[in-house]
């Protein structure tokens, strides 16, 4: 049984010109202890599909799916109270902007202890001890002192470590990391990725890594889903994706990497679409593998 199974997910938003389809019939499954990367450029619907799983989309979004199962249980029609019990405990998420996703009005210690209080019902002393343990685990120096710091007193990399500590506080079975390192420097990115992968290997949780960086995919994923304009272009294990990409879009993405430049010019994605700079619709892209 897959940890998370989504069949034929569609997300639509109402706009002044009619319904806009952000995610169009995407199916994703993640096994226990598996690292799945979802790759795509902005607007490909990679974040929106995961926000739909978390139930974090605004009420204006119309979400339909044939199936949406977490550990075999339906999560599509949960009541808000049931959802709150699941989200943050068994499914946790790390967001892109670490500084923006922490509450500036409270100390980071309060924010991590809140999770422990609500989901695990620990008493004050146990919460404190567990918070210190988590901060040590994510490699924050002086955890006792850091608990009393406010987000603005920490660097971006440190804030991201706090976010990770909050996400793993209840030993989630599935961790969704939405571009966890895009806002960070290369050296810090390396540290954060190492930390996430280390935690994943130790706890055996499922991990969904949302990213647009092919380098991050290469360094973390077991399996990869490539999305473009809300549709799934390709799904393959990481080695075959890089060695032998099937869809034209993946080929184009790989060719556009500066390190794969041949001669003086980079191959642009549009070069794969017969000189049509913006492909009109993803339906025009051939070679889609389901």
């Amino acid at each position: 049984m897959a940890l998370l199974q989504i069949d034929n997910l569609t997300v639509e938003f109402e706009t002044s010109t009619g319904w806009f389809r952000a995610v169009d019939g995407v199916s994703i499954s993640v096994e226990k202890a598996e690292v799945l990367a979802i790759v795509g450029e902005s607007g490909s619907g990679k974040s929106v599909s995961m926000l739909a799983v978390m139930g974090l989309l605004p009420w204006t979004a119309k979400i339909t799916a044939d199936r949406m199962l977490f550990e075999g249980k339906d999560i599509q029609n949960l009541s808000p109270a049931e959802r709150r019990k699941l989200i943050g405990k068994d499914i946790a998420m790390i967001f892109q902007e670490p500084v923006a996703s922490l509450n500036p009005c409270f100390t980071v210690g309060f924010q991590i202890e809140e999770v422990l209080r609500i989901h695990l019902g620990l008493d004050k002393k146990a919460r404190r001890a567990r918070a210190i343990e988590l901060f040590k685990l994510v490699g924050l120096p002086n955890p006792e002192e850091r608990l009393n710091a406010f987000p603005h007193q920490m660097s971006g990399g440190q804030c991201q470590r706090v976010m990770i500590a909050i996400a793993i506080a209840c030993d989630p079975k599935l961790l969704i990391a939405d571009e966890p390192t895009t806002a960070l420097d290369v050296t810090i990115q390396k540290q954060i990725l190492d930390l996430i992968m280390d935690l994943q290997a130790r706890t055996g949780m499922g991990l969904i890594m949302i990213t647009h960086d092919m380098g991050v995919v290469a360094e973390t994923a077991d399996r990869v889903v490539v999305q473009y304009k809300g549709r799934k272009m390709e799904e393959a294990d990481v080695l075959s994706l890089f060695e032998n990409p099937k869809s034209n879009y993946t080929k184009a993405l790989l060719a556009a990497l500066p390190e794969n430049a041949t001669g003086d010019r980079l191959t642009t994605v549009s070069a794969f679409f017969d000189g049509n700079p913006e492909p009109a619709s993803s339906a025009e892209i051939s070679g889609v593998t389901a």
């Binding site: 450029e41 902005s42 420097d185 290369v186 050296t187 810090i188 990115q189 390396k190 990725l193 290997a201 647009h212 960086d213 092919m214 380098g215 991050v216 995919v217 290469a218 360094e219 990481v238 080695l239 890089f242 060695e243 184009a252 993405l253 790989l254 556009a256 990497l257 500066p258 390190e259 430049a261 003086d264 010019r265 980079l266 191959t267 642009t268 994605v269 549009s270």
Partner: protein, 282 residues
């Protein structure tokens, strides 16, 4: 004065300090953002400046484009020593250097039409009639891969890549010789990034431009740069040709930087998967 052999840009031991405002009972503090950097850049070449946030690379860019005044040091552009004191810079000097900023969403005025964005430098610096300004702006739009129909549109009607093209077009309106590009592609998607990098390469050939290219992405630097300078805490810790720096990085920080950059080649993936298998078997 400016024959073909004089370097386009020469920077001699340039420094910039920022003084933090002192509070009550709090002594004054000085931040040394750039601590004495020197380099020479030949015409038509690209120098890439690499480093993490806070290393002083953007401060250096601001000094080269006269946005910030250096605390000490000399700035020689096109063989001419620049008098960077306020009020001593002539419009002619400023025309030679232009800048393209990182975030194309923040660097364009949302209430200004694209045609006016491009025409404004001409209106301020020349006595060109409006019709000619319009022709020049349209011409430049075509050169950066946009069309005349975009002349009357507003910035919000464009994608990130298109906006960056507009920012590049604006920088080129005064026919600069030196273009400072402050992380011009880091806010863009991979596919769009390739288009903008190609455009920059084409424009460099066409207008004989010299680039100072600031970036933290080593794969982009390896693609575009002739020379590379690595900055760390306000100092240039490594400076050499692209081949020198990439084949044999000398400084410890450069080596850390190379190690930290994710590798997207098949061999490293194979290696990682093998390692993972071994770990799970043990």
């Amino acid at each position: 004065m400016s024959d073909i052999n004089t370097p386009m840009l020469e920077v001699r031991n340039i420094k910039r300090d920022y003084e933090l405002p002192s509070g009550f009972m709090k002594p004054k503090k000085t931040v040394h953002a750039v601590k004495g950097v020197s380099f020479k850049l030949e015409r038509g070449k690209t120098l890439a400046i690499v480093g993490e946030s806070g290393c002083g690379k953007s401060t250096l860019a601001r000094m080269i484009t006269f946005i910030d005044e250096p605390t000490a040091g000399e700035l020689i552009i096109d063989g001419q020593k620049m008098d960077t004191r306020p009020g001593h810079l002539t419009a002619e000097m400023r025309q030679k250097v232009q800048i393209v900023f990182q975030n194309p969403y923040g660097s364009l005025n949302p209430r200004q039409k694209i045609g006016d964005v491009l025409g404004e430098p001409l209106a301020i610096n020349t006595s060109m009639p409006a019709s000619e300004r319009r022709d020049r702006a349209t011409e430049m739009l075509i050169k950066v891969g946009l069309g005349p129909e975009h002349y009357n549109r507003y910035p919000h009607m464009f994608s990130g890549g298109q906006r960056q093209r507009i920012a590049i077009a604006r920088a080129l309106m005064m026919n600069p010789k030196l273009l400072v590009l402050d992380e011009p592609v880091s806010a863009l998607d991979l596919s769009v990034q390739a288009q903008v990098l190609n455009l920059l390469a084409d424009l460099q050939d066409e207008f004989d431009l010299t680039y100072v290219f600031i970036s933290h992405d080593l794969s982009v630097v390896r693609y575009i740069a002739d020379e590379v300078m690595v900055m760390y805490y306000g100092e240039a810790v490594e400076y050499g040709t692209r081949e020198e720096v990439f084949s044999a990085p000398k400084h410890e920080y450069t080596q850390t930087l190379f190690k930290a950059t994710p590798k997207a080649d098949v061999d490293s993936i194979r290696e990682r998967i093998a390692k993972k298998k071994a770990a799970s078997a043990a």
